[in-house]
Symmetry: C2
């Protein structure tokens, strides 16, 4: 029986595996992690709203009844195109058809030394680390005597005004203004300074301009100040330097969060070396109209690792719906090939884009119709929950959401891992 | 105003703080962590049933409306009895009355080198580490070709047949027999070998003998074999050696969990040095009838760090109800002293003891009446949930419990942290 190997259990890989359910092929899904991560809600783990397990489904549980799929917990290091084998960290696995869906990581435009001071948000561990830093900053401020240091602990800088940056800034604003309101005795969390730094002339630059304006206003109500046309020129342990209108500004802060720039998974470069396929500047693979690699009809690249242009010549954004549709498309293509058919090129059905700004505030652009406010937030919630409930156990997230919404509670604000570093020597009483 | 300092936000410290609510004192609660941990359910995190946030309440959230309490996220290193100051890792805080409630850690009877191979279960990090090891063992077995190695990955040894060991073994049995039943393609998790090793002649030695027998039978139904009268003589990376009836047995296993023996917090020894108070063999402080340190009426020790004998001369067990009642007692004593009264000695009201064995199976001893089976399980559930709902947001745990009960689901079975080590070189297909 033909063997389809899928590397990556994100939206693309998982949807490919599920769509191959009643197909006469053997499927092996390889992932380094034992769970599928619902990345669009990762910022909610980072701000203590949801628990890691609320947005992660064990891959084996999701696929347990699909008897033609085996899950392999392993790391793919290389692809031997000639012998059709995926080289793992410990072993190898041969394929007839290969689907590479290993996604992207954030990157620092050549400044990898910034990562230690400005973590990005791609994994569960990233999210709990960011949660630790945010909560520890409030704790350090509570214990700090010097007002200038208090100010620096209560200053949060988010770099990148795309959906992730906007969502992080908005929920951080809510945390400071609302959730933590009564928690401290020496500081007022509502006096936190939250800056959202964006290089373009408006946040959410891929959205309509009116939605950017709405989002900016909604963020302002949550105490977030937006700095557009500003680029980060340095990140230090206790400050960030931003440049704007040819002026440099030194902003003392202990918490910088990185939501700018993505870099495709290293398997992109490996595929380029092995097949000669072109990569774009972010390391994404320039795929053929059927998402295969030119001259390698049995290797497909989907999701954030693929560079694919729509009919208007625009590259598709790195969002879950693109990956899901590409996974389904490739699975259907494999089925059609088994029947001797040649399918039409991939076509992305854009059902709109949305970003959440706060507790009951979002912006949405659905086929040219623009919403904002509570209605957009409800739409966002509905669409995300519909996606979530596809997997087992997701009804609980809905309950948790509703509960948190009505109680304004964030029960998951745990500081785990390393304790905060602090140089405080006197305790206020 | 008089300043009461409480070290430790466990059951003892937290109940003391809450009972001081409408008292005319200032309270400072010091803890290294920013949350109260509901330790009796920790084993459920270790087996992927609940998320860490489900059993942890942020201390600031629990105490936010109690304006006479401040929470201090700090580590207490020493106590300067002469000047009435608690020395922190970074600073110090002075007290008029001190309540030390820093609990206990597991210990290895002098074999600290065993800890790396046999983690204990006291913290959230312990629980996620144990969860990682258990789930990774099944993953490694799935990929292993050598049947002997498969067998060793599927062998789990739990050392210590008290309530924690019994609960761990029972839920691990359920995980193997039930939850993971359909998850793998090359192994059958139900063939796992789960051993519970206890030095005494029966498990749950502090319970009535008939309950020990009931628990043993219930564990057997979950595939757990109980080895009593057996002591561990060595723990190695890939085996455990147990001694029983003067015979040594070498058991190949990759997963050993430690649920035997506790050692009091190091603050016990510090108090002994500073005040001359006696310690018992486990390092617990031998407190006066009012839980103070003899000749130091303003220093109290409560919970797992205290050694207190009931009227029958039996030391009280290290369980949550004892700590809660001691916290309340000391808080009330402080109130009475403010009114010039001298309270009677502490008296523990034993409301019974319970251990859960499986999904719908428990043993309970309530004032001499012994239950087992589903009824005991319901009683256990009710009592724990009543305790949980005292804190914010705990209704969700009830919902999650009910959900998991009816769906037999464990959504929190995430492997986070380090990936499993593996020496496998061939992938089965």
């Amino acid at each position: 029986m033909s063997h389809v190997v899928i590397i990556g259990g994100g939206f693309g890989g998982l949807y490919a595996a599920r769509t191959l359910k009643s197909t006469d092929v053997q499927v092996t899904l390889i992932d380094r992690r034992n769970f599928h991560l619902f990345q669009p809600l990762l910022y909610q783990v980072a701000t203590g709203w949801l628990s890691p397990a609320d947005i992660a489904s064990p891959l084996r549980a999701v696929l347990k009844r699909q008897r033609n799929v085996q899950v392999l917990l392993a790391e793919a290091l290389d692809i031997d195109v000639t012998n059709r084998r995926v080289i793992l960290k410990d072993g190898s696995v041969s394929y007839d058809t290969l689907i590479v869906a290993t996604g992207a990581r954030h990157h620092y435009f050549g400044h990898t030394q910034w990562e230690q001071f400005a973590p990005g948000l791609k994994t569960i561990e990233d999210a709990t680390e960011i949660r630790r830093r945010i909560l520890s900053a409030f704790e350090a401020a509570e214990r700090e005597a010097d007002p200038e240091h208090v100010r620096s602990w209560l200053t949060f800088v988010i770099v990148g005004g795309g959906p992730t940056g906007v969502e992080l800034a908005g929920t951080l604003g809510e945390l400071a203004q609302d959730t933590l309101r009564q928690d401290f005795r020496h500081i007022n969390p509502a006096e936190s300074r939250i800056l959202l730094v964006e290089g373009a002339d408006r946040i959410l630059p891929t959205y309509a301009a009116e939605l950017s304006a709405k989002a900016t206003a909604a963020l302002a109500r949550l105490g977030v100040s937006v700095h557009t046309g500003a680029t980060v020129t340095d990140v230090q342990p206790d400050a960030v330097i931003i440049r704007r209108n040819d002026q440099s500004e030194h902003i003392p802060t202990r918490t910088v969060l990185w939501a700018a720039g993505v870099q495709a998974s290293p398997l992109g470069r490996i595929l380029a070396t092995a097949t000669g396929v072109e990569l774009d500047r972010a390391g994404r693979v320039m795929v053929a109209p059927d998402l295969s690699i030119p001259n390698h009809p049995y290797i497909f690249v989907i999701g954030d690792l693929a560079h694919y242009r729509n009919q208007q010549g625009q590259p598709l954004p790195g969002v879950a719906p693109v990956a899901m549709q590409q996974g389904q498309y490739v699975a259907e293509l494999i089925q059609q090939r088994l029947r001797g058919q040649t399918p039409p090129p991939f076509h992305y059905q854009d059902r709109g884009s949305m970003a959440i700004v706060g507790r009951a505030e979002a912006v949405a652009d659905v086929r040219g119709r623009r919403f904002s406010g509570f209605l957009a937030w409800l739409a966002w919630l509905f669409i995300h929950l519909m996606n979530l409930v596809e997997f087992e156990n997701r009804l609980l997230v809905v309950i948790q959401w509703a509960w948190n919404y009505f109680t304004r509670n964030r029960s998951a604000r745990l500081i785990t891992g390393e304790p905060p570093s602090s140089t405080v020597v006197n305790v206020k009483q």
